[in-house]
């Protein structure tokens, strides 16, 4: 079983970093990418069977939290907020929880998460596996 993943992040860099990261996990496949919430909504219509959405918060056009509202309605995918601003206990994290985010993972080293390049994003790996029920 292969779980489909959408990556929503405004940075080309970050999208490619996550693409590489996801590619290293055999159970997951990144099938859709979007640079803002609006585009992500369009992608959502094309991909009905997403298992995971990795979502950045700070984005132009439509930010992650706004997209979250739509995504929660339109998709059964588990939504992981992957952000450098949603640290534990922060208002961003509380807001995302109130909107029903399934998980919040702080980007280990900032907006461009270089750690993921080294496949050190063990936390993210764990969270993704747990959310689809693999652990």
């Amino acid at each position: 079983m292969e779980y489909k993943v959408m990556v929503v992040d405004d940075s080309v860099m970050m999208r490619s970093v996550i693409r590489t990261f996801v590619a290293k996990m055999p159970e997951f496949r990144a099938v859709a990418f979007a640079e803002n919430g609006k585009k992500a909504l369009e992608e959502l219509d094309k991909h009905k069977d997403l298992a995971i959405i990795l979502l950045d918060i700070e984005m132009p056009e439509m930010d992650g939290l706004e997209f979250l509202r739509f995504a929660k309605l339109k998709s059964k995918a588990k939504i992981i907020i992957l952000s450098s601003v949603a640290l534990a206990g922060s208002p961003h994290a509380a807001k995302a929880r109130a909107l029903g985010a399934d998980a919040i993972v702080s980007k280990p080293s900032g907006a461009v998460s270089l750690d993921l390049v080294d496949a050190r994003g063990t936390e993210l790996t764990q969270v993704m596996r747990r959310l689809v029920g693999l652990t």
């Binding site: 739509f70 309605l73 339109k74 998709s75 059964k76 206990g89 029903g100 080293s109 900032g110 764990q126």
Partner: protein, 1081 residues
């Protein structure tokens, strides 16, 4: 859930409070008889009825609850909508109160709800009055032509009053709102009628169809829809209606709907409330706006199913759910549809599900609708009913149930029971509490619920149990919310201080665990711009610490990585090259461009950095140096290092300024120490909070009140006292945890502090070189300074204390003892004189010998001075210069000289001493200074004697022996001194450190033990020595060797003999340092 409680007590509390509430209700009603307009009394009445209702609900007495609920709604109309309190209402409410009182008796006696029949008539009449009042209100509002926007913050309209309720002889057909409700309901009934005709066989479908006709008849009658009634009545008069006739009725009814639409009741509606219904083409808007009636029915059905389970109700629920599904199907809101499917599946189960399941589904449904409303275009307020209002109403209604449930979950988690399930439920409960808090407009409490939810969710995702701190915070949160909402419910202004404090605590707790507390320090010391605040993760903090150790520079680079992928790749590669560390980065929006600011550390300076950047990006458009950060910690460390390093290379170069700066400011504090201090501060804050909680609970008062009420209300007294004790226990547990946590950090901090305070003696001695040179030049002497013991470790404070005495002595040597180069040549010495300063460290003091090779102290000047003072002394010797009042010693008139007595006084004040060596023809002046070690680090053996721990300096220990009792004997001659025989010719006196210790080893017990043949019992002795003397110290246990920091005994403790100081041991206990010298007399 209820198993956790003593149900009898709860029933008894219910009886007590119920009677109180009803007394209050009666009192208010009688007061209102005379002053019907008194709003305070109405508010009091409302609260009392509300409390009664809540209590009944707690015990699942739905019939009682329902009566109280309707009465409360009626009072609510008076309180909130300005409906006048009239005689009829008074009579009805008095009757209700009587009825409730008899229900109270019945339910308390039976522990069961009363039967529905008892209340049916009463409820019907209250409902009737309610509707009459509501309608009168609408008419009144219409005539005043006001909008229906509620003017009070609390939305009093609960769903039940929106749902169509039957009334007698009232024609509401003229009212557009009722008309709309009727039409919508009629639409539903018609669909249902059609379905029954299709889905079932003829016989069954006629039966089911009849039920629908009844419903329609009822509705049409209530609202006075005469044409509808006509058709329906005609059908009802049929003896045995056929399926064909049923079909005919449906067709006719549809025709009526057509007609009605032609008349366009909605045009009227729009006219009536054009402020609410706006042109809105959003399908989501239409979906939500059409929900009102089916949703009302659905929630009503769910409510009824909680109490009674019948196939008929289930079928209706299923229909209602299907209706909702049809409405929302086209929108593709999967989670909403999922909930609906769950409801349908619940409706098709044969047996009754637990009440909680119906409630949970209702909650989930509202939650989904809120999510849908969130994405609707336009203002939510334009909807007939905002789902958010429904949800918050619902959550507020259920808040105390939620809090109670959460309390049980937390208890479960404490017992490590059903961790996963409990966390799952707790998360849901937090959402319910969140919305309830919003209902009462308690924003902080709402925010806190989400913060706590976040913490639970994180624990869950990482597969760890929530720690005790989180559980404790949750408990406090439950208590605080209960108090706040209780106050808010009864219209009082709640005290929010407690919850604000808790929010602070929660954030702190979070920050400690995620390292954010430390990040604040780093933000400050690096001078990071605001965009980098609160983004440093524990990983990035470690990187900063590493960079500091490597003395790297810190920079912020602004990069546009989204234009040129090649450049971006090069840049990222460069970032991971050696010598550079990318610590963190944040997104920056510049117009429509998304840029990143990178916080990096690098070993190279600004010029090289700019070179590298322009090599990567020759255009200079994409990569920019945004800021060069001045790191305070690295700078301080760098200052520190250079001064010490330079001293090794060129002692003379060290300046005064550098020295004093180094001694005065503790900038050398390591990042570890800062971290530990941060942890301590947080721990302290939490302990303070726990203590404050403890003190806030006036146990004595609680106890007194409890005992006083014990006779009358045993259960309440018991509950109160128990609650108080529980709180106490909880706080103490927390304090214990915090205390041991802090103690551990303190020990680590102590170890770090020891190393921080230790400095090489060079720090004291090196600055003397330039000083000596300057003095010698002025005096025309040639002097060379020789120092010994530069590398001896001394405490920082020592440097300050010895600096000035040593300078005075150098002054003296150069000016009084050392000859000019010419004189020295004449005396057969080399022209260059020497001053030697030798510093050495002893067990508890520092000793400094200072001597020169000049003429030494001129004894004749001392004689002169003695004569001048008129003192009579036996022998003229240099030590006389130390006597009080001797004054300055100077060879030359006009020279200030050195006042030795003052100098000695100064040293003695610090516990030190000054001695002057005897005059000798072969050597110059000779001084000896001592200074006690302020904080001594002793390598010691920690031993236990009884309950007390002692430290014995390792240097003083000769050996440790284990000897049988028989080797201990007693000398009667020497005041009963006990002795230990180590060998035939080797006998040592034994030193006992405590009474109990002595008894066990006393000669008498030895004698007895021989008789009892236990003379081979082993005892421990530490043999300490001073020169040739040895003593065996009897101890109970050897705890181990460790480095301990000794502080001198202070205050009255300084009089204690036999110990020289106390030590904070690694275990956190206090130990005492044995004064070995004292034992030897």
């Amino acid at each position: 859930m209820t198993e956790e409680f003593d149900m009898n007590e709860i029933w008894s509390m219910y009886a007590d409070e119920g009677n109180q509430s009803l007394d209050e209700v009666e009192e208010c009603l009688l007061a209102l008889q005379h002053t019907p307009g008194n709003t305070d009394t109405v508010a009091r009445l409302f609260r009392a009825m509300h409390t009664y209702k809540g209590n009944a609900r707690m015990l699942g007495l739905s019939v009682v609850e329902s009566v109280a609920h309707h009465a409360e709604d009626l009072i609510g109309l008076v309180r909130d909508d300005g409906v006048p309190f009239d005689h009829d209402m008074l009579q009805l409410l008095l009757e209700t109160t009587d009825s409730l009182r008899s229900m109270l008796e019945t339910t308390v006696a039976s522990h069961h709800d009363v039967s529905v029949e008892l209340s049916e008539d009463l409820i019907k009449r209250i409902k009737h009055t309610l509707l009459v009042c509501q309608q009168a209100k609408i008419v009144e509002d219409n005539t005043r032509n006001t909008t229906t926007a509620p003017s009070h913050p609390e939305p009093p309209t609960l769903l039940e009053s929106i749902v169509f309720e039957p009334i007698d002889k009232q024609s509401l057909a003229a009212d557009p709102v009722y008309l709309e409700i009727f039409m919508s309901m009629a639409h539903d009934i018609l669909s249902e009628m059609e379905r029954t005709l299709v889905d079932y066989d003829a016989e069954q479908s006629i039966v089911l169809f009849a039920e629908e006709v009844d419903r329609l008849h009822h509705a049409a009658e209530q609202i006075g829809m005469l044409d509808w009634l006509q058709l329906v009545n005609a059908y009802l008069t049929l003896q045995t209606p056929s399926v064909r006739q049923a079909h005919a009725l449906v067709t006719e009814l549809y025709a009526l709907v057509e007609n009605q639409n032609k008349d366009d009741p909605f045009a009227e509606l729009e006219c009536f409330s054009d402020s609410i219904v706006q042109e809105n083409n959003d399908p989501i808007y239409h979906f939500l706006d059409n929900l009102t009636v089916p949703l009302g029915r659905l929630s009503q059905l769910l409510g009824r199913l909680k109490q009674e389970h019948s196939p008929e109700l289930c079928a209706q629920l299923s229909t209602a759910a299907h209706d909702l599904k049809v409405l929302g199907d086209s929108l593709g809101f999967v989670r909403f549809l999922e909930v609906i499917d769950e409801i349908i599946s619940l409706a098709t189960t044969a047996s009754m599900a637990p009440a909680i399941q119906y409630e949970q589904l209702e909650f989930k449904l509202y939650l989904e609708l809120v999510t849908i409303a969130e994405v609707m275009e336009g203002e939510r307020t334009s909807l007939t009913i905002d789902p958010l209002t429904i949800l918050r109403n619902w959550c507020a209604e259920h808040i105390f149930d939620s809090l109670l449930a959460m309390r049980l979950m937390v208890d479960g988690l404490r017992q490590h029971e059903n961790i996963e399930k409990n966390i799952l439920l707790i998360k849901d409960l937090f959402i319910k509490i969140y919305h309830a808090c919003w209902f009462y407009e308690k924003e902080t409490a709402a925010l806190l619920s989400m913060t706590l939810l976040d913490l639970y969710a994180r624990a869950e995702l990482h597969g760890v149990e929530p720690d005790s701190m989180l559980l404790h915070m949750t408990k406090s949160y439950i208590n605080d919310v209960e108090i706040i909402l209780d106050a808010a419910k009864s219209g009082e202004v709640p005290d929010m201080a407690q919850i604000e404090k808790l929010l602070q605590e929660a954030s702190e707790a979070v920050f400690v665990s995620s390292g954010t507390l430390l990040s604040t320090q780093i933000e400050h010391s690096l001078g990071l711009p605001a965009s980098f605040h609160k983004v440093l993760t524990p990983e990035s903090i470690t990187m900063v610490a590493q960079a500091r150790n490597n003395q790297h520079y810190f920079y912020i680079l602004r990069a546009d990585l989204n234009q040129d992928e090649e450049l971006a790749t090069h840049f990222l590669n460069w970032l991971s090259s050696s010598g550079i560390q990318a610590i963190s980065n944040v997104t920056v929006f510049e117009g429509d461009r998304t840029l990143f600011d990178f916080l990096i550390s690098a070993h190279f300076d600004q010029v090289s950095l700019v070179d590298s950047l322009s090599a990567l990006d020759p255009s200079g458009q994409y990569l920019k140096l945004e800021a060069v950060l001045a790191d305070k910690v690295t700078q301080a460390n760098a200052n520190n290092k250079t001064s010490v390093n330079a001293s090794a290379e060129d002692k003379a170069l060290i300046t005064e300024k550098n020295q004093s700066a180094l001694v005065a400011t503790p900038q050398g504090m390591s990042i570890d120490m800062l971290e530990m201090i941060g942890e301590l501060v947080t721990g302290q804050a939490m302990m303070q909070h726990a203590l404050a909680n403890l003190f806030a609970d006036d146990f004595l008062h609680t106890f007194d009140v409890g005992v006083a009420t014990l006779e009358q209300k045993k259960s309440i007294a018991y509950q109160a006292i128990r609650q108080s004790l529980e709180n106490c226990q909880e706080q103490l547990e927390k304090l214990m945890q915090l205390e041991s946590h802090n103690a551990a950090i303190l020990t680590r901090l102590q170890e770090a502090a020891i190393t921080q305070r230790v400095r090489p003696a060079a720090l004291l001695l090196t600055p003397l070189f330039p000083y000596l040179e300057a003095v010698a030049r002025q005096a025309g002497r040639e002097v060379k300074l020789v120092t010994e013991g530069d590398s001896t470790d001394v405490d920082l404070s020592m440097v300050e204390k010895l600096k000035s005495p040593l300078r005075s002595l150098i002054d003296f040597c150069i000016n009084q003892s050392i000859e000019t180069p010419e004189q020295r040549i004449q005396n057969g010495k080399s022209p260059q004189a020497h001053i030697t300063i030798a510093l050495s460290k002893h067990e508890d003091h520092i000793s400094v010998h200072l001597e020169d090779d000049g003429e030494g102290i001129d004894i004749s000047s001392i004689t002169q001075r003695i004569q001048h003072l008129g003192w009579s002394v036996e022998k003229i010797e240099p030590a006389l210069m130390l006597s009080d009042g001797f004054g300055s010693v100077s060879k030359n008139i006009g020279d200030d000289g050195v006042n030795f007595s003052e100098l000695a006084k100064q040293l003695r004040r610090n516990g030190g001493d000054l001695n002057i060596g005897a005059v000798s023809p072969f050597r110059g002046a000779h001084f000896h200074l001592t200074m006690p070690l302020a904080m001594v680090v002793v390598e010691g053996m920690v031993v236990r004697v009884g309950d007390v721990q002692y430290v014995i300096s390792i240097n003083a220990i000769q050996r440790i022996v284990r000897a049988e009792t028989q080797r201990v004997f007693h000398i009667s001659a020497d005041g009963g001194q006990s002795m230990l025989r180590l060998a035939a010719d080797e006998v040592l006196p034994i030193q006992f450190l405590s009474e109990s210790n002595q008894l066990k080893n006393s000669p008498r017990s030895v004698g007895r033990s021989e008789e009892e043949s236990s003379s081979s019992e082993m005892h421990l002795f530490v043999v300490v020595c001073k020169q040739e003397q040895r003593i065996a110290v009897a101890v109970d246990e050897l705890i181990g060797q460790q480095q301990v920091l000794i502080r001198p005994m202070q205050g009255f403790l300084s009089d204690i003999r036999g110990v020289t100081g106390c030590a904070l041991l690694a275990s956190g206990d206090i130990g005492m340092l044995l004064d070995v010298a004292y034992m030897f007399g």
